[in-house]
Symmetry: C2
Subunit: 333 residues, 2 copies
DNA sequence: CTGAAAGCGCTTACAG
DNA sequence: CTGAAAGCGCTTACAG
């Protein structure tokens, strides 16, 4: 495997000149550059990235730590983040945390080891008590709902507002027995507690009594979790006419679970999700949802991180919340 | 940021001993190890991976180059590959090629990917003509249907056999006007040509005439592509009673497209896909499909690659084809 | 516009 | 069981 020195020798220049050509530094004569490029081509030379990283002290790579790579939500978000980072000349390395608190913390320390220039961390397992652990020298942007007010740049979805709008939408469609399928973290800061707050507020505003038997908890925010939750609601005789679901993936499982019990959507029950996944555009019925503006999330996450990487990042980190859009489709028609 | 030398100084040992502790080499006295670990802890030391990689000449990381990170198929495959590689002590870095031939080639040669010990490449843009370009010194396993007989380890899905079984299944269910929704590469080696061959063979075996108007081409193997293909079939008055779809994602779009035209599945038309994605288990109707044994694909891909990375990989590379299972669900009931 | 020298932080033979 | 020395392949000031 040829090295930069081999190229230098072949081109009759110093290693430094080769390096300058490689890194597109301006002060190289066109004729010299030509000679170097030809030598690179002839020898089939490739930069040794490990050596470059070691010497330069950076990698032009940002880490993106997600709970699950197979989740459509994170797949679609990763795709957007990769596109945005690519435009800025950065690569994205995807790490899997398994939604585990310790893995999320070690994603932070390991990004120093891995020599990512910065980290975008989707925090699920972390809680408010871990706030201070986020005070590190690793340039970082945290996504998710589990930590607010920490000393890092943080982007949250419009959880409370979004679910509030979703619930009002069901009420406007005539639903009165409105269930919610949600996760099990109702009593700590989480996607579940925030989205539940929006649901409760909407019901209260319209004078509809909340009924604990209309809350169906699923421990996993998956389609299977949604399916089983729907079974429980129906089997308990809850007589629901609308269901607010914590995510689109759960909502698609809920629709499936209702079908298992012979109930149709929106005929018997109206269903709305959250995320605006591609899947919900093609399901039968197509899924009404809250679009939390994933493009902006991705763009903001990358841009905030790059600003941290720039010289003199002196401003205070803060919490950002994106806007949303109610998307009406067949499932609430 | 403390270095290994700082740890050595703090523990009163040589750098080499710290390195031995870090790499779990056996010849370190327990008491010395303790001292070193304590120093590591106190200083908050982290290995500099760039330096380690440079010196060791390997990264314990394998690259997985996929067309699209947001595709459920690749997300689910990546998840399996990550799990398998993790068990073997390797990390996986996901690269996006955009299904582009040049990007697939540069995944093999680029400096960036030089930092992987080996590469799993999902080839879509590459063709048979590129066979010789795969003759590199990069340890590599190629997945996909676009290149057979190249001098690399290669894993293909049971395309022809799988679609053959899927088509027979529709015939057994009573379908006679069976359409296929496929990609546009019917005349070169591709997923489309192989799966089409299985479809044609099944029809021929049962004495059903093939009808070109029953082939619906979609340029993108997406749900949207499937939806539009279904529209074209219906709008052309094709009077189909069964549709073999090239992938599950396309099949879900086809079901959606039929719904757009007021047709139900399986009542008016039976539909079957290929891949056994999670999405198809929760759709309404749930999707019959060919399960190409993704666990085995992932396991074989990682194991073949690791064997190539071991000393003396002297055997001939060859093409592997996994087995399949017909999964009967509601869409063909 | 180009070069000689130093050094990023590790691990690997080679000794003892 | 432990150490001293060399070197992996680059880039970065510093000169000229």
């Amino acid at each position: 495997m040829p090295t930069l020195h081999d190229v230098a020798k072949a081109a009759g220049v110093s290693p430094m000149t080769v390096s300058n050509v490689l890194n597109q530094h301006p002060h190289v004569r066109a004729e010299t550059r030509e000679r170097v490029l030809r030598a690179i081509d002839e020898l089939g030379y490739r930069v040794n990235v490990a050596a470059r990283n070691l010497r330069a002290g950076r990698t032009n790579t940002i880490g993106f730590a997600v709970p699950e790579v197979e989740s459509p939500y994170f797949g679609q978000l990763a795709s957007r983040i990769i596109a945005r980072a690519h435009d800025a000349g950065y690569r994205v390395a995807i790490e899997r945390t398994g939604a585990d608190r310790d893995n999320e913390l070690s994603a932070i320390t390991s990004s120093r080891t891995r020599m990512y220039d910065g980290l975008i961390l989707e925090a699920v397992g972390l809680g408010s008590a871990d706030r201070d652990l986020l005070h590190t020298d690793v340039p970082m942007v945290v996504l998710g709902e589990s930590v607010f007010g920490a000393p890092v740049d943080h982007i949250a979805l419009p959880n409370e507002e979004g679910t509030h709008a979703a619930t009002l939408h069901l009420i406007d469609r005539g639903c009165r027995r409105i269930a919610m399928v949600l996760g099990d973290e109702l009593h700590r800061l989480s996607v579940t507690s925030l989205r539940h707050a929006g649901y409760s507020r909407a019901l209260a505003e319209r004078g509809i009594a909340t009924d604990p038997s209309l809350l169906a908890v699923t421990h996993e925010l998956t389609a299977e979790g949604g399916r089983l939750a729907a079974h429980r609601l129906v089997d308990a005789g809850a007589e629901v006419d609308g269901i607010v679901c914590i995510t689109d993936t759960v909502a698609l499982g809920v629709i499936r679970g209702l079908a298992d019990r012979g109930l149709t959507v929106p005929g018997d029950v109206r269903v709305i999700g959250f995320d605006d996944l591609l899947e919900g555009r093609y399901s039968v019925p197509s899924l009404s949802t809250i679009d939390p503006d994933g493009d902006t999330v991705a763009q903001l996450a990358v841009d905030l991180l790059l600003k941290r990487l720039a010289p003199d990042p002196h401003w205070e980190p803060r919490d950002h919340v994106t806007s949303f859009r109610l998307v009406e489709r067949e499932s609430t028609a």
